[in-house]
Symmetry: C2
Subunit: 393 residues, 2 copies
């Protein structure tokens, strides 16, 4: 199979490393024939080009790997490739989350494959196994630690006394976090992965802006020490349940008991979970990002296409479902500053509170996910650094 | 596809429950046509028979599911089925471990499939994912908590003060442990799964009797409280590394730091792990036994056969490798009674020891797995209740 590779950053160079030096017979089937690089980058390999048409018009190329990132150009190129009857493999969760149904339909109309294993959980074979379980089971819920950057930051916050900004800097130096970390720490990246996983799990399309999302930008060592005293470990989670006529889907910090599997996911690892009616709980742990493991997932998709396996367990998005988070009910932790005018409002929904020199800490009674997010959006206007987390008991 | 089901115990009745009440289109392809039951059991379903030939000679039946257990009759029936050009799906680790190469070759010679997903890790899609990773990666090591009964006992020992025999009884009442629990608590079941996983991971055959094996029969609350003081959690592990010209493979109790993923596997769950050169560490968590989840794995194999997926990522056992555990070096914990005559021998290989009213507790210097097992075999003659565990730091 001959590949056109769009993008030669971290994942793209990982794909080249594996395909140019294959360790197995299977990988020897795959040849990267052309590589699209950005205007301004120097051509360091005879396969490189600045022109997408050199790839789209190359009849020998049957499969395009899109690892450019971004959503505008990537969308155009993915659609062009599918329309030119080329299979597309992408690791780009943002462009998938925004255009999932359109990509799937375009692929179907042109009798080619659209494959996305690398988009959620990096090297973890999450999508493939979700699809395999669905051959037998109804999936009742999915969840996961889907963002390695956030997990690294939270793990480090729990392990030592450093504050958020210091740790974020370390993460940036290690290549775990982008120069602009907003998509990670505000939960946007996790939201994309939540949407993709839930759509596949429940055979539906969902609307990205209906996923209640709160990240970890404002977590402090004060929160962590409150959690530690209670034996809790905080993780950024995507969670979704199938309620049949609708689904719930949200991204929020969650405090787990310290002996939960989730609580013990270290460094930049991911953990993805599903529940099915005969398989019960099934969880997958691995490198959720990074050159080698993400490239591995991309190449798994290519091999499935080469072996005609790709169409056996297809993604189906055959209805649209509304997201409704008003049936998912938990206790929450809330931390806000002492002078907040909405303290009485919080007290009304709380079962306990504590006061330190600078903050109030609350534990709410059981309330819905939709309610807590609505409250927090309101309260954020006055206290932009307010923090909350679901409590798992 | 028409199935002949051999055995109708826990897993067999799980297979029937799924196939007779299919929840998906995929499962609707599978029809259980005949069911072999033991002489003496009553016929409660018109499909039931006492005669294997009713199934082997039925030309409509293309696939046999063997979930009888045992190794003698099961071996005969599996070979007869393969020779009659029927695919065989089995959950029976003992019979696979003893006859792996013969079954694979017989299947190949008769152009049928021999599938074993359910034999290791129950519902966890371990074998399939190991084979998929191998399309791209060399596997350098595999390991796992492969026995739910032992994990339940160890987890309960850590959680409360009950002693081994009480917990074993509870496990038996819950259906987690057999009436004769030897295969579980002496590590035999784990040894079978270690062999099967290592053979698949490294494309080789291995000899079962070369796997150093020590179970958890003799663990006591004294051991547990020693571990708890140090923040350790004890698990029964299968471990194997690829040393290229040979492999290591052994089953032994292992003390993990309490924040290791392994340490936090609760109840009767399993955790299986592999390391590959691009995927790095990948781990799978789920129900390692039980009616629904093991039946799920059996039916996944049937679906792969029905969809002609089974031959795409084949198991290859193309050379024989020796097992040599003399390159795997760790610190070990040893507990023995006060009057043992070999105390001085242990002191010579130890870096610290403690004494209680009835026992000595040692931490050894780093020694090889082959050496510790050889020592323990010797010392067991005098202290049959001696216990040891590897220490992970």
């Amino acid at each position: 199979m001959k590949i056109g590779l769009l993008g030669c950053g971290t994942v793209g160079s990982g794909v080249l490393a594996i395909c140019d030096h294959p360790q197995t017979e299977a990988v020897r089937q795959i040849e990267v024939k052309r590589i699209l690089i950005r205007q301004g980058r120097s051509i360091t390999d005879p396969r490189m080009t600045y022109e997408i048409q050199d790839i789209i018009n190359d009849e020998e190329i049957d499969t395009i790997i899109e690892v450019m990132g971004g959503t505008t150009t990537a969308k155009t190129y993915i659609l062009q490739a599918l329309q030119a009857k080329k299979n597309v493999v992408t690791a780009n969760k943002a462009v998938i989350a925004e255009n999932f149904k359109q990509f799937m339909e375009t692929a179907k109309n042109h009798h080619v494959q659209f494959r996305i294993e690398a988009s959620v959980g990096g090297g973890i074979p999450w999508i493939e196994n979700l699809l395999r379980v669905k051959r037998i089971d109804e999936i009742s819920s999915i969840s996961g630690i889907f963002n390695g950057t956030c997990n690294f930051i939270l793990d480090t916050l729990h392990e030592n006394e450093a504050d958020f900004d210091e740790i974020l800097q370390t993460a940036q130096q290690l290549g775990y976090a982008e120069a602009d970390p907003s998509s990670d720490i505000d939960g946007i990246d996790t939201k994309y992965k939540c949407l993709i996983s839930a759509c596949i799990a429940y055979n539906c399309t969902l609307q990205l802006d209906q996923i209640d999302t709160f990240g970890i930008r404002h977590i402090t060592q004060q929160d962590i020490s409150y959690f530690k005293k209670r034996g809790w470990t905080c993780k950024l989670m995507a969670m979704s349940q199938n309620h049949d006529s609708f689904v719930s889907a949200y991204v929020q910090p969650v405090c787990f008991p310290s002996d939960a599997l989730e609580a013990n996911v270290p460094a930049n690892f991911n953990l993805t979970s599903l529940r099915g009616h005969t398989i019960h709980d099934l969880k997958f742990y691995g490198q959720g990002a990074g050159k080698d493991s993400t490239a591995h997932a991309v190449i798994q998709d290519c091999l499935d296409i080469a072996n005609h396996q790709a169409s056996l367990n297809p993604i189906v998005l055959d209805n649209h479902k509304l997201i409704n988070n008003s049936k998912d009910i938990f206790h929450f932790y809330i931390r806000t500053h002492l002078q907040a005018s909405f303290i009485d409002e919080i007290k009304q929904i709380s079962i306990s509170h504590e006061k330190s020199e600078s903050c109030y800490f609350f534990i709410t009674s059981k309330i819905t996910v939709s309610d807590i997010h609505a409250h927090i959006r309101q309260w954020q206007k006055e206290d932009p650094e307010i923090f909350f987390a679901q409590i798992v008991q």
